[in-house]
Point group: D2
Chain length 242, copies 4
């Protein structure tokens, strides 16, 4: 069964910064999509960006999406409320959602979390070591106990999110900070995995381990069948004369 993945990217840094454009010639979405396609055989990946009508996330596209991977940063506020709500609704129905890096500031993620999602941060190329804190989790499949990202933007605790269902990764930064870099949630029928690495100033989304994590996350976040659910006004389920 083919998994339908949509990789969404605001695609702004690529158009405004020459260095980002050189680093990610097919856009950050292109790099993420390529990584998923390389890692998974039974997957169909499309991309969508902010500038498209409906940001490329019209109802039919979302309806046909099993897992939405989301990269955003400077243009989070330009995403329309209607599209953000549409994404949230689809997550409730079962679509997986994988915000990457500052996608944690996106409207859909913040609406799904109900918190500010605030962090501390620092530019300047800290080395990051991403530790697997939950080696039994499927999103860690096939990984070493830790991997290094040579240079990145730092994110530091506290991370103002609800206590995660599972904390799969915790990062160490050269400058002295730590961060829960891979955290899992469910909202309605939808699985959510927020992954920290992926800054636009470094070629992180080409790194092998990062691609492995994202591929694992796509598989983990895929919708499952589940049970029937009935909401609204109902008659009694049990009667005295049953």
């Amino acid at each position: 069964m083919t998994l339908d993945v949509t990789v969404w990217n605001e695609n702004v840094h690529e158009r405004e910064s020459e260095s980002v454009a050189e680093r990610y010639p097919d856009g950050i979405h292109g790099a993420i999509a390529e990584g998923i396609e390389t890692q998974l055989s039974d997957v169909s990946v499309r991309t969508a960006t902010l500038e498209e009508p409906d940001h490329g996330l019209d109802e039919a596209t979302l309806e046909g999406t099993d897992v939405l991977v989301w990269w955003s940063h400077c243009a989070n506020d330009e995403v329309s409320d209607a599209v953000a709500d549409r994404v949230v609704d689809r997550v409730h129905e079962g679509m997986g959602f994988v915000p990457v890096h500052s996608g944690k500031n996106s409207k859909p993620f913040k609406r799904l979390m109900g918190t500010t999602c605030n962090i501390k941060y620092r530019h300047g190329g800290d080395t990051e070591r991403v530790w697997v804190s939950d080696p039994g989790h499927p999103i860690a499949d096939g990984l070493p106990e830790s991997f290094e990202i040579p240079e990145t933007e730092m994110y530091g605790e506290p991370y103002d999110v609800p206590e995660p269902d599972r904390t799969v990764f915790v990062s160490w930064f050269e400058g002295g900070e730590v961060f829960r870099s891979g955290i899992c949630y469910r909202r309605g029928r939808g699985r959510i995995f927020a992954f920290r690495p992926g800054h636009e100033e470094y070629p992180i989304l080409f790194q092998e381990e990062v691609r492995q994590v994202l591929a694992n996350a796509v598989r983990w976040a895929a919708p499952t069948e589940g049970a029937e659910a009935v909401y609204g006004e109902v008659d009694p389920s049990h009667r005295r004369d049953d």
Copy 2:
């Protein structure tokens, strides 16, 4: 130290239905406030309703509120987005929030949960038995192992909320349904307890055990000091030459 409690009520049924007005002559907010004042000695309780300017929840009032108890039902959509966001922001800062009965459909609760909060329901006066599923929880302090509500509106599973941090009560209904009737969360620094009982068609908010639960919840949800938190851009915490 006095705890500042605000009891908010949409106060619509009381004005539109004679029978509700007779049952709750001081409004549902009045009955809840009286119950809390009776149970707790070190508390200052005020009330606020939908019809007041800012729904009675201007910034100064919320700033001075330790715990907000919230009853709403038919007028959830009439609460302004601005006030709903203000409540959410104050919860993030540490204010306790206790939605009662269909307060689970209020804008603040749904924004804090990130889910639909859907349920099934039935009018008609089912008997409900509220079981303590977590007898070690402070919100269950002083309660028997279960208590009966002779007649009520039924709420049934599935309850579309995030997996609770703690499930304190689970209800049994005569007609064959069950419901997680008392569930705990934290969002930011704020504690949230959603309590199911409290339908306007029955004198439930005068019942002793219900008042005990609400008083316990107010104490439990009160803000605590916590630690400093720094967000935004920062210098390294550790330097090689430290």
Copy 3:
């Protein structure tokens, strides 16, 4: 890839009670095994019982087991500490563990939980309605929103277990009680699902929905690859001159 399932049963009631023997002519283990084989195509099921050497759970058998389904009741104390620890160790390594009914009182389950696992109970044939409280969970795949067990032994809250990772089912009983009937945990790399239904005095383990749940649980609890994990004394991961 074939899933290796071992169904363990104390197999005492079947030998001591004529009515149980008639109801479960191949033993409760036989009924469970048949149900799993009927529901899943890619599975190899063996059975083991208390009376066998090592209770049929020698190291090689456990090593070759992906998921252990466990039924026990009156002979929980006769399981040797060594075998109980061996089961616990294998769960830590990744083996799934599915205690059924009073298997919740088994040594392995209690050691994995760290609590008493106490409940209240009643014989006498209550009707039970099992509600899906988490319709998005894979253990609920394909189920209606609830199903009825016409007659059973009642289990009632409080259920003295750690707050579950996920609560998939909550049961309603005719006599007025409720119970968290399907709860999920992880310990080490191993997935645990404790399922309430399955009393020996009724043909519950032949019931279609029960078999569906157990098959779903076996698939859900199957080991996954995971990441490398290094324990013990280590050299620094990061050096100043890196």
Copy 4:
């Protein structure tokens, strides 16, 4: 209301190592007890050690203990099974339990967790920075956003414990590792807080922030009243002719 705290220490390093004896002239238990007494006014602290009869933890002592703080390391195996089980039973009844440093390897903690509690470690005096990851938690009351322990033994992830109810602290180590240094659980009615810092080779248990955390933990882990709980065989709670 006075809180009765017992500080337990194996008290072996102090007797076998001159440098530890000099660093902790009143024993590690003495240093912990002094810290708690200094921080909390309404507390009565006693100490107990391995060498005493019943390890100083006879039934009357445990019965009279609200919170048990536990330090152990090299002699974890010398604690008798009977005393370990007695501690576990008291936690189930409501006694708070605060294992410090390698107290995470103690029999009571491992029995309460149901996992191996394995970690990686390194001697040699890494600098540790303890970050508050949950600034709204009462165990973090009054703390800065992080504090430094100049020299310590390192503990590194993965930490083989059940996913914590709350993760209050996450540590950064100079050598490149991270660790969930303060984690909360409940088992039965008892609250558990496992705190990482506290190695015998450094004067960590005299450090102000460490003492603040332990005092906060003692207050947080104190028993609360809770509700009645009935276990065992029961009559129906609801009757048709009620």
